[in-house]
Each structure stands twice: as C-alpha cells, then as structure tokens.
C-alpha cells in the first residue's frame, strides 16, 4: 500500500487525541530513514498485515471528543499511524452519524425525532430547539442541534443526546427533553453536566417477586461489585466453573433459551459450535448496540445492573473457550457505557476478570467498545466490522459467526438480554427455567412499553402473556380515547389492531399472528395518534439507517419513503391501489433479496399499517 496523505498537518490537540488511544502500540522509534532495514512492525504497520485497524473507531471518537470534528490533517495523521489508507478512514468516519467531517460547534444536541418521541411531542421538537439554537444543522453559533433516531428513552417521551467536545468533553443523555432546562444545564461547567438517570420498572413496586431478569434493578448499587454480590451476583459464574464448560452448555440446552435479539436462535447451538471450533482464538461479543426504535431494555440493565452483563459474558466466554470478550455499546448511551466501564474495571480489580478467575485455570477479559451512531451496527456481522475498524456493513452469511466472526475467528454473539438470562438459568437450573413461559418460548421476556399507556416503562413477564394482559399491567391506554394500534417489536416489527389483544406474546404466538416480538417493543397509539407521522418516520428511519450496501435496501428504502409520502399526501402516481401494490411488490423484494435483517424487515411495519388501514391518505 502506498500511504500517501495530503500533507495537511494535524494540530497538537489532534495528535494528542489520537495518541491517547494508540500510544499502546509499538511503533518505530525515530524516523524510518535512520534505519538500514526493518522487520515487519518496525516500519509502517500495515492494515493487511494484522495491524491495529480495530483502534480506528476509538481513535476517531477521541478526535471527535477533543476537537468536535475530524479534520483532514487529523484523519491523515490517524491513517498513517494505523497504516490504513486515508480514503478508507474517511469511508469509515463518514459512515457513522456521530462523527463530523466538517467544522462543527463544540456542543451538538442530537434531538430524538423517532416514533415515540414524535408521538409524544406531537411531531415537532423543532420549534423549541430552533427558537433557542437556530435551525437544525445551523453551525454558526456555539450550539448546534440535529435530529436523531431513537435514543432509547421512549418511556420518558422525549430525549436528547448532548455531545460536548473539548477538554473536558462530555456526552449526556437527557430525558424528558425541555429546551429551557437543557439550556440551564449547558450553562454549568462541562464536567457537571449530568445524565438524567431514570428507570421505570413499575413491577418493582407492584410485584417485585415477578422479576427475575430485573431483580437487581433499583435494588443493588450499580457501581459496587460488593453490592452486586450481596444480591446474588457471581453465584452463576461460580456454579459454571464448578460444573465445567460442557455442562454449562447442557444447562443452556435444557433451558431451551432462545436469543432475545430478534432472530430467536437457540443459544446453546450457537455456543456449542463456537466451543467445538478448533480455530483459535475464540471471541465472545455482547451486542449492546440497542438501537431499535422503541427499545430501552438493554440500556436499563446496563445502567442499573452492569455487573450482570459482565458476569453473563464471562460465563459465555468460559463455556465457549474464549480468550476475550467485547461489549459493543451504542454511542448514544453515555451512562450505560460509564457504568459498564466501571463494572469491568471493578471486576478486574477483584479478580473476576483477567487471569485465573476465581483462582481457576480460566483467563478471560472484556474490552468495551463504543458505537458511533449507526443502527445497522446492531446487526451482528456489521458489529464485527465496526469493532474491526470498518464501515458497519453486514456480511453475507454463510459463513456464520461461529465459523468466521470477529477478526474472521469463531465468535459467539448474544445481546444483553440473552446473556442475563444465562445467570438465571445457572441459578435455577436449565430444566426449571424451561418450565417458565411456554414450551417453545421459555423464560421471561422484557417488554418496553411506551406511548399511550398509563405507566410506560420496562416490564418483565413470562412468555405467553397476552398483549392485553401486558397492557393492563401498564395500566391500560392512558388517554380517554380508545386504543388504535400497537407497534409490536419496533420499527422492524409490525402494527397490530385493537382486535388482536389476545395475541400470546411468545415466539410462536406472534408468528401465528404474523407479527414479531423483535426487541420487545410495545408502543401504544390511541385514536388521536397521527399514524401517518409514525409510518413516515419508520420509512425515513430505514432510509437513513440503511448501510447502502445492497440495492434492494439502499434504493428500496428510498423508494419506500417516497411511496409512503405520496400515499399519505394523496399525491399518488396512477391509482392508489397501483401504488399500494407497488409498495407490496417492493416489500417482497426487500424482504427476499436484501443482505441483512434491516432490509428484510424494513417494510414490515409499513406493510402492516396499510393492511390495518392506519394511513389516512
């Protein structure tokens, strides 16, 4: 590779930011020309020779945090240090919405403009924001605001992520968002800017004994490993180490645990194929890139019970013979990241990570990685690419992660909710676990209730609970108006009508109803809700979050948005039924021919909305 750069210099601050991430690397001392020869690694470290490209995202984050944007000089400097071509680095940086490639004010407010917040705000966060900080994207002042996809604070009804660059820098997630209150907060010294921490688990008050996965939320101190242990923490890992890796997998198999990430794949099969793979090393990745609109369950666990994730991942690593685990947390969750980071350090200092865990012949450590604003990075193979320092473009499967995953090595990957189920399984035993829920959907499920319910929040219920029962748990529809529809499963899920409240919320139950549980989203709309807005937002969401790799999704999501616009504005080309037929045709091809789940599900909710007649037109 010819590493050629523009010759534009990086500023001392930019260099410092890059070095803060990559100073761990061994690099040539002095100039290359001093030498009369070099071994691999003493020269420019090249990406194709097993370099350190995986530090690309962390280093881009460092520049973004320090400077507020990534200049040409900074990008060149980083590229040269990591041996990645500048064009490639640019391609990566421009993929993620939290990186800015043009000069941007030091403070950027990402205002949630997604389904739940739109519904709660009656569609427009813009007025309040614009009144104070100018038009969206206006970077002429000290503060700039832009719209953002779902920030995972749906239970609060409005939210914003504030990115503040400089020294010190800060990222805070605030909800509910009030422009005036935020302005006051931003007047404070930067290090005092506070996340608005909240979690709504109504069962904590009403029926704490019904909580298995959420039993420590709001009870144990999320910053103390001792508190975690005094509430049952690390019993599961201890048991795992006693029974050995094979028996851990047997317990999981007995439990019939299915992945909670959306694909509902049997966890034990995944683990087994990683464990049996002879290639080395093995990796285990916890997918904490929760980004499905309407979803906030993983955030609550990360913020309130972070040690559970560390423990769950450690067990997964143990059972599958992994040397190293990664937690990939979405960039919009600063408090979750802070708590996880703290938990990992604390666990390491207590001998619960690192070498000889619990004094056994078991070494395992965890690295925390941060996303940078890309829904698609939650797709497992896109997530691997992201960790590897690439654009988060999903890979074609096969090969599956258990064969060739992260760094092309055998990799296990589970999301947060799946991993904390493992703790429960090891505590009560796989067979006992399998008796919870339905025969084919065992255990409990986390549900994110938002929208027009009396008590929005995070709920836990055994699989098989009826949708109506779940709504009752949340106090029913909040407004005097009656229920219009429920969005089940998120933007990639589907709408169900008021006549479908008896759907059993199990994998098989929703399948029969032609719906999906997805990420456990239960977003409630009453008769007053503007469904056109919601559906248009879903169409926009997929267009903006498509990685752009494959034609059906890249162009299809754009065409879908146009069709939805024409149908809801009633500016159809030809007849309305032609347009609906075309939308259906498009949906079929996107579902059948897209590379990954994003494109395959991008039409689901919209199609269901038209079937239910939710679009006025």
């Amino acid at each position: 590779m010819d590493l050629r750069t523009s010759g534009k210099p990086a500023s001392p601050e930019e260099i410092e930011a890059v070095e803060s991430v990559i100073s761990i690397l061994e690099r040539p001392t002095g100039t290359e020309t001093d030498g009369k020869g070099s071994l691999d690694g003493r020269g420019i470290p090249f990406d194709n020779k097993g370099g350190h490209r995986d530090l690309l995202l962390p280093a881009l984050h460092a520049i973004q945090e320090r400077i507020g944007w990534i200049s040409h000089g900074a990008l060149d400097y980083l590229s040269l240090q990591l041996g990645v071509a500048p064009a490639e680095t640019y391609g990566v940086a421009s993929f993620y919405s939290m990186f800015s490639l043009e000069e941007t004010p030091k403070t950027v407010i990402h205002v949630c403009d997604d389904i739940a917040c739109r519904a709660a705000e009656n569609g427009e966060p813009a007025a309040a924001m614009s009144g104070r900080w100018g038009a969206e994207g206006d970077g002429s002042g000290e503060v700039m605001w832009v719209r953002s996809p779902c920030l995972g604070r749906c239970e609060d009804g409005s939210a914003a992520l504030v990115q503040r660059a400089g020294m010190p820098h800060r990222r805070i997630l605030v909800a509910p968002l009030a422009a005036d209150a935020l302005a006051v907060e931003l007047e404070k010294p930067v290090h005092d800017w506070a996340n608005t921490e909240s979690f709504r688990v109504p069962q904590r008050e009403s029926d704490p004994s019904s909580l298995r996965l959420l039993k420590r939320v709001g009870v144990a101190d999320p910053t103390s490993v001792d508190s975690y242990r005094s509430h049952g923490g690390y019993r599961a890992l201890r048991r795992a180490l006693e029974i050995g890796p094979d028996n851990v997998i047997r317990e999981i198999k007995d439990s019939k645990l299915m992945g909670r990430g959306g694909a509902a794949f049997p966890t034990a099969i995944k683990w087994e194929s990683v464990a049996r793979n002879t290639a080395r090393p093995h990796y285990f990745v916890c997918n904490a890139d929760e980004s499905e609109p309407g979803t906030f369950k993983d955030r609550v666990i990360m913020e309130q019970d972070p040690f559970a994730i560390v423990e769950g991942l450690t067990i997964a690593g143990y059972a599958t013979g992994c040397e190293k685990g990664y937690i990939y947390v979405r960039g919009e969750y600063p408090l979750a990241e802070e708590r996880l980071d703290h938990a990992i350090h604390e666990a390491r200092s207590k001998g619960l990570l690192g070498n000889r865990i619990f004094d056994r012949d078991f070494d395992f450590d965890i690295e925390l990685r941060r996303g940078a604003g890309a829904y698609i990075a939650g797709e497992e193979t896109a997530l691997f690419n992201s960790i590897e320092g690439k654009r988060a473009e999903p890979r074609n499967k096969p090969p599956f992660p258990a064969q060739a995953g992260l760094f092309q090595k055998p990799t296990g990957v589970n999301n947060v909710e799946t991993l904390i189920n493992v703790l429960e399984i090891l505590e009560i035993g796989g067979l006992a676990f399998s008796n919870i829920g339905t025969p084919d959907s065992t255990g409990t499920r986390l549900f994110c209730l938002s929208g027009s319910v009396s008590e929005p929040g995070l709920y836990e219920a055994p699989f098989g609970i009826r949708l109506g029962e779940l709504l009752d748990m949340a106090g029913g529809v909040s407004s005097p108006k009656s229920l219009k529809t429920v969005l089940l499963g998120g933007a990639a899920g589907s709408f169900v009508g008021p006549d479908q409240l008896d759907i059993a919320l199990s994998f098989e139950g929703v399948r029969t109803a032609g719906a999906t549980l997805g990420s456990g989203v239960v977003m409630v709309f009453d008769q007053d809700a503007d469904l056109d807005q919601a559906i248009l937002r879903i169409a926009q969401f997929f267009r903006e979050e498509s990685c752009g790799q494959c034609v059906p999704c890249r162009v299809g999501t754009a065409r879908q948005e146009e069709l939805v616009l024409r149908l809801s504005n009633n500016t159809v080309i030809g007849s309305r039924s032609d347009e609906i037929a075309l939308l259906g045709n498009l949906a079929t091809v996107m579902r059948e021919s897209s590379i990954c789940g994003l494109g395959q599900t991008a039409a689901n909710a919209i199609e269901s909305a038209f079937k239910l007649g939710l679009v006025r037109g």
């Binding site: 590779m1 010819d2 590493l3 050629r4 523009s6 194709n48 990008l75 071509a85 064009a87 490639e88 640019y90 391609g91 421009s94 993929f95 919405s97 990186f99 800015s100 490639l101 994207g137 832009v146 719209r147 953002s148 996809p149 604003g373 890309a374 654009r391 473009e393 074609n396 267009r543 903006e544 979050e545 498509s546 990685c547 752009g548 790799q549 494959c550 034609v551 059906p552 162009v555 999501t557 754009a558 065409r559 948005e561 146009e562 069709l563 939805v564 616009l565 024409r566 504005n569 500016t571 080309i573 075309l582 045709n585 498009l586 079929t588 091809v589 059948e592 021919s593 897209s594 590379i595």
Partner: protein, 309 residues
C-alpha cells in the same frame, strides 16, 4: 509440461438446478455451476477476477430450505442443494432490482449483456415516478450520515450529479454509478493495493470517494485505470471516450479491438487496443489471460499517446 504443480483432487458435488441434477467441483459457487450448465443468471457486481461482494442482488436464486433468496455469486454449492433459477419469485426480484437501479442511476451506457437483461426483465425505469434532478457537485458527498434531504415523494431520488473531471486520463461520472464496489476492490486488495478510493457516506447517499472527496491528483491514485476496466456502467471512463462522446464522434461500429503486448516493461501484460480512425481510443486487457487477468499499470493503460502522436 515439466512442472510438478500439486493439483489437489477436487471432489465433485451433486446439486439439482431447475429440476436437473448436475455435478460440479466442490467449492464452486451456484453461479459458476449454473453458467457451466449454460443457465443464464444476470449479474452486475460480480466479476470473475474479483472477490464476490454480493451487493447488487441481481443474481438471486431460490435455494430449497432458505427463507430468503440467495446470491448465487457467493453461495457455494452443497451436496443435495436444490436450486431454482427461473421462478416468478426470482424474476420479480431481478426485475425490481434492475428497476431500482434504473430509476436512480443513468444506465444508458452498459454492456450489451446487461442491456439484454434489462430488456429481458422489461425494466421500466419510471416505475417509481419521474426522476429527480441532479444534485449539485459535492452535495451528496457532504451529506451527514443518517440525514437526507426530505422530499415530497413526487420524484424518484437519483444519484445524478455533474461529471468529475480532474485529470487527463479518466473521468468519474457518478450519475452512472451502481455502487457495485468493483472499483474499490480493484483499487484495493483484489488488484492494485493502492486504496485511493473507498465507500463513503451511508444508505442512498453512499458513494465512491477519495478522502474528503479530494480530486484524484491529490489522492493516492496511481492511474492504473483498473477501476475503469472493471466498471460495468461506464461511470469510470477514459477521458478520450468521454470527450468523443461529448462531441458525438464516439462510434463503436467503426472501432476494432486488437490484442497485443504492452510496449513497456517485461511483465508481458496483454493489451486490447481499441482503435477508431487509426487512433487508439481505449486500452483494455483480457480478463482470461493469466498474466494479469485484465489489470494493467498506468503506462500500459494510458501511456499510448506517443503512438497517437
């Protein structure tokens, strides 16, 4: 031959394609297997000499047991696999994929093969409405990831933008770009290892770009033109061809293609010399020749002006 190259014994795998059982060497893709049987499968991003990226989704086929359609270019055959290449389901998908492209990209200069497929699948490029006007230069390139210009849906969004002319060797007309990734592969590890270009941006605004969209002379480009050679839609074009098309003197019916050997170094790259009116108007290299499989360097590709005089 006096060599002793160890030829690994390839096992044969039996699969059923469109109801007929066929055998093919283990490790073959579905596409290779089909083409060896004379079954036509349309492709766009696929190229024999490049790693399949399976992004265009034109070559989709049905595989029994698979919920979705399957890209035949990258899926390897497995014993007992049942493949259907000619169902309505497959045709619908191929037609739609071509229409999605044709509605957003200028596909007026494509290979005869691709033009044939577009005819076969009766591609209607206005199926999604009239096409939107071009963006201004650099507009698409600077769109922040996760944002896009909101429209009223009355026009089909396109990738149209002005042609990029920043050197005398080749031009980049990204209005014609179907984002097949071939140029990026050829510039990267599949051939040149220069990495002057990459995918930038995201979603519909994804595009091929240098870092910060700098002109090619400020980039790492070494003008091997291998990107031009692999481009299926003439988004990358010899400047001579571009200029001749502009003044309407480009006439393929008056052109001949002659195979010869590059006059520069000793590698022995084969050249296909495209001539019109006793002038060289383009240089390509045969894909099926094992010296460089279609790839050249700057001298072989563009260093012929001394002949044109």
């Amino acid at each position: 031959m006096s060599d002793s190259v160890a030829v690994s014994i390839q096992r044969s795998v039996s699969v059923t394609i469109d109801g007929i059982e066929v055998a093919a060497p283990e490790g073959s893709s579905i596409l290779q297997t089909c083409r060896s049987q004379g079954i036509d499968i349309p492709t766009l991003c696929y190229m024999e000499t490049l790693t399949p990226v399976n992004t265009c989704r034109l070559c989709m086929v049905e595989v029994q047991g698979s919920r979705t359609l399957v890209p035949s270019c990258s899926r390897k055959i497995e014993p007992g696999m049942v493949v259907i290449t000619n169902s309505d389901r497959v045709s619908e998908s191929r037609k739609m994929v071509l229409e999605l492209l044709a509605s957003s990209v200028d596909m007026s200069i494509v290979s005869d093969e691709l033009a044939g497929w577009m005819e076969l699948y009766q591609v209607d490029k206005e199926r999604f409405g009239p096409m939107a006007a071009p963006s201004s230069l650099g507009e698409r390139e600077t769109m922040r990831a996760g944002h896009h210009h909101k429209s009223d849906g009355s026009k089909a969004a396109t990738v149209f933008e002005p042609v990029k002319i920043d050197n005398d060797q080749y031009v980049r007309d990204y209005s014609r770009c179907v984002l097949c990734y071939r140029c990026v592969e050829a510039c990267g590890t599949d051939a040149q290892n220069t990495f002057a270009i990459a995918l930038g941006g995201r979603g519909f605004e994804a595009h091929i770009t240098t870092e910060f969209d700098v002109p090619l002379p400020e980039s790492a480009c070494v003008y091997c033109g291998n990107c031009v050679a692999v481009c299926p839609t003439s988004a990358l074009m010899f400047k001579i061809e571009h200029d001749m098309r502009q003044d309407q003197s480009w006439d393929e019916s008056r052109q001949t293609i002659t195979r010869t050997v590059c006059p520069y170094c000793g590698v022995g790259c084969n050249l296909e010399i495209h001539t019109q009116d006793n002038k060289i108007v383009k240089v390509t290299s045969p894909l099926d020749h094992d010296v460089t499989e279609g790839m050249l360097c700057v001298k072989g590709r563009f260093g012929f002006e001394f002949i044109n005089g």
